[in-house]
C-alpha cells in the first residue's frame, strides 16, 4: 500500500525513475551498454555529432541524450522527438533502433569497482577478488542490469544481424575513433563528413571530459552528491586489467565468460581457447 502510493506520487510529481517503464516511441534510438562500458563517452560523441553548434557539457547532456535510468517519466516525455536515449537495460523488445556498446569485462570490473566506491556503495578497502565474484554473480548494484554476460547475450542473441542494431566495441572506439564514428553516423542516417566526425571526437576527448567533470560534477545527476575524490571519467583506456586485476580474478572472469569474450574478440590469458566445435552446441 505505502509502496504503491509512493510510486504513484513520485510519478505524478515527476520524481520517479523511468527505467524499464519508459514510454518508448517508434522513432527512438537507444545507446545501450552494460554500465562502465563507455556509454557516457558515446553519449557525448553522438550529442556532439548531432548538435555541432551546441556546447555539450555535463550540465546539459541530459537534455540532448537523456538517461532513462536517471530521469523521470515526465522529463523523458518532454524531450523533443526523435529522441536518443541512454540505457543500461538488458534486452527490451520495444527498443527498435539500438547502438550497443560492449567492453572487455576485465576492464569493466575495475572501472565498476571505482564507480561503486565513488557512489559509496562499497568501502575503499573492499577486496578486489570478492568484488569480482560479486560482479560475476550480478550482486551489488549491477543486479539491476543482469550480469555482464546476460546483458550482452540478451542483446546479441536477439538482434545481431538486424539492420537496426549496431554493435560497437569500446576498444575499437578508442583505437579507431574516426572509423567507428563513421559507422555510427551512417547508422543514424547522417552524412559522415570527416570534419564533423573529427569535431565531435575532439569535443568528446577524455581530457575535455575530465575538465568538464571538474567544473560541472555537481550539476550532473550521475555525479551530484557522490565522492568527488574519485572521478567518474576513469582511465578511458583499454587493457588496464593486465596490470591491475589479480590473476585469480582474471581466471575467474575468463572461466565464467570465456566463450562470449572470445566471440567479441577479447583474447583470454588464463584459460586455453575452448574447442569451437564443442561450443557450437553450447
Amino acid at each position: 500500500m505505502i509502496y504503491g502510493l509512493r510510486k504513484v506520487v513520485l510519478y505524478w510529481v515527476g520524481k520517479d525513475i523511468a527505467g524499464r517503464n519508459l514510454a518508448v516511441y517508434p522513432d527512438d534510438t537507444f545507446i545501450v551498454s552494460y554500465p562502465r562500458s563507455g556509454n557516457t563517452w558515446t553519449r557525448f560523441l553522438i550529442a556532439n555529432l548531432l548538435h555541432p553548434t551546441e556546447s555539450i557539457t555535463f550540465a546539459n547532456i541530459e537534455r540532448f541524450i537523456p538517461d532513462c535510468e536517471a530521469q523521470s517519466s515526465r522529463y523523458l516525455k518532454s524531450i523533443p522527438r526523435p529522441r536518443v536515449i541512454k540505457s543500461h537495460e538488458y534486452f527490451d523488445h520495444r527498443y527498435k533502433k539500438v547502438i550497443y556498446i560492449v567492453r572487455d569485462p576485465r576492464d569493466i570490473v575495475l572501472s565498476y569497482y571505482d564507480f561503486q566506491r565513488k557512489y559509496r556503495q562499497i568501502e575503499d578497502g573492499y577486496p578486489m577478488a570478492r568484488y569480482v565474484e560479486d560482479f560475476l554473480h550480478g550482486r551489488l548494484s549491477s543486479a539491476d542490469w543482469g550480469t555482464w554476460r546476460e546483458n550482452v547475450a540478451s542483446w546479441l542473441s536477439t538482434r545481431q544481424g538486424n539492420p537496426d542494431f549496431l554493435l560497437v566495441r569500446y576498444e575499437d572506439l578508442i583505437a579507431g575513433s574516426q572509423h567507428e564514428m563513421e559507422r555510427i553516423a551512417v547508422f543514424l542516417g547522417l552524412e559522415p563528413q570527416a570534419e564533423l566526425l573529427t569535431h565531435a571526437i575532439e569535443l568528446s576527448s577524455a581530457d575535455r571530459m575530465r575538465a568538464m567533470e571538474n567544473l560541472q560534477g555537481t550539476e550532473w545527476i550521475s555525479t551530484r552528491n557522490k565522492r568527488s575524490d574519485i572521478p567518474f571519467i576513469g582511465g578511458a583506456k583499454a587493457g588496464g586489467w593486465k596490470q591491475k586485476l589479480p590473476p585469480e580474478s582474471i581466471a575467474a572472469i575468463e572461466t565464467a565468460w570465456g566463450p562470449l569474450m572470445l566471440r567479441l574478440g577479447y583474447n583470454l590469458q588464463s584459460v586455453p581457447a575452448p574447442d569451437v566445435e564443442m561450443e557450437a552446441a553450447f
Partner: protein, 286 residues
C-alpha cells in the same frame, strides 16, 4: 486523464496487474514460454503435480499457478511460497528458476492466428499470410518475436542450474517422462503414480471438457468467441497441412538456425540468417 487517475489509484492500492513489473522473490519458479506454446497445459501439469489433492481447473488455475497479467499485485503478494508463476516475458534476469517451454514456431504461428480470431483481434476473413509476416516481425505480441523470446532465454540461461528447457513436442510424445524431468528440476519427489495422475488430470480431453464448463470463469477465455476453443488440437505438426508454403518459408528463413538448434526440421539449406544465429549461440557459453 480519468484513465490515469484510475490507474494511479489502482496502483496505490496494489490492485493493478503487475505483469512484467511484478516483484520477484528468490524462491519463485517461473513457467515461461512464448504465447501459444503449451504454457497452459504445462501450468495444469505443474498444478496437478504440486497439488495432488486439488484438481486444477480453469477456475482455480490462477491461484495454483498464477498469471501476473491476470492477478493484482496485492493478490500475488499474498500467495503462499514457493510460488509457481506463469509468464510469457522475454529474458528477465530477476527470474531465479525457469522452466522454459518451446514449440515449433510454425505451429505457434498457426495457433496464434486462431487465438487472435477467438479474441476477435482478427476476423475470419483475415488471411493467415499477412498475420505470419507480422508474427515473424514481432508485431503480433508484446513479448517480443518468437525468435527474440526463445533466443534471449537460451543465450543467457541454457545450461545453467536454474533453467530447464522443455519442448512441447516432447511433452506430447512422452508426457510422463517430461513431467518427471520437471518434478526432478523442482526437487519434488514424485512417484510414477503421482506423475501419471497429474498427466491424466491435465489431458487435452480433460482440459477441453473443463473449458466447455468454465470458459466464462477464466480471465483468458472470458469475453472471447465461444465457437473457437482455447484448448485446440493439442498436437504437433498441424502446420504441415494448414500453413501456406509462403508462410512456412518466411518462418524458416527467419529462424532456421534457431529451429534446427531446437531439433525442428526445416528445408535444411544454410541461409545467411543461420550463419548469424550460429555465431551468436556459438560464443555464448554458459
Amino acid at each position: 486523464m480519468l484513465h490515469q487517475i484510475v490507474g494511479g489509484l489502482k496502483n496505490a492500492l496494489g490492485l493493478n496487474r503487475p505483469g512484467r513489473n511484478m516483484a520477484v522473490f528468490p524462491d519463485d519458479v517461473f513457467v515461461v514460454s512464448y504465447p501459444k506454446s503449451g504454457n497452459t497445459w504445462t501450468r495444469f501439469l505443474i498444478a496437478n503435480l504440486v497439488h495432488p489433492n486439488e484438481r486444477a481447473n480453469f477456475a482455480n488455475i490462477n491461484r495454483l499457478v498464477p498469471d501476473p497479467e491476470a492477478l493484482s499485485r496485492r493478490e500475488l503478494d499474498r500467495l503462499p511460497h514457493p510460488r509457481y508463476i506463469k509468464s510469457h516475458q522475454y529474458f528477465d534476469p530477476r527470474y531465479p528458476k525457469v522452466i522454459y517451454v518451446v514449440r515449433d514456431p510454425r505451429d505457434v504461428a498457426l495457433s496464434h492466428y486462431h487465438f487472435q480470431r477467438k479474441r476477435k483481434v482478427l476476423a475470419d476473413s483475415d488471411r493467415i499470410e499477412p498475420f505470419v509476416s507480422r508474427f515473424v516481425a514481432g508485431g503480433t505480441s508484446s513479448y517480443g518475436s518468437w525468435g527474440e523470446n526463445v533466443a534471449g532465454w537460451l543465450a543467457t540461461r541454457n545450461g545453467s542450474a536454474g533453467f530447464l528447457l522443455v519442448r512441447y513436442e516432447d511433452m506430447l510424445a512422452k508426457p510422463n517422462d517430461e513431467l518427471a524431468r520437471v518434478a526432478s528440476f523442482l526437487s519434488i519427489a514424485a512417484h510414477a503414480a503421482q506423475i501419471y495422475q497429474a498427466v491424466q488430470r491435465s489431458s487435452a480431453d480433460e482440459m477441453r471438457s473443463m473449458e466447455r464448463n468454465q470458459a466464462h470463469l477464466w480471465s483468458t477465455t472470458k469475453d472471447t468467441r465461444q465457437d473457437i476453443p482455447f484448448v485446440r488440437e493439442a498436437k504437433a505438426g498441424g502446420w504441415k497441412s494448414e500453413l501456406p508454403q509462403i508462410s512456412i518459408d518466411e518462418i524458416e528463413s527467419k529462424w532456421g538456425g534457431l529451429m534446427r538448434y531446437l531439433g525442428y526440421e526445416t528445408k535444411g539449406s544454410e541461409s545467411g540468417h543461420d550463419a548469424v544465429f550460429e555465431s551468436v549461440l556459438t560464443g555464448l557459453g554458459r
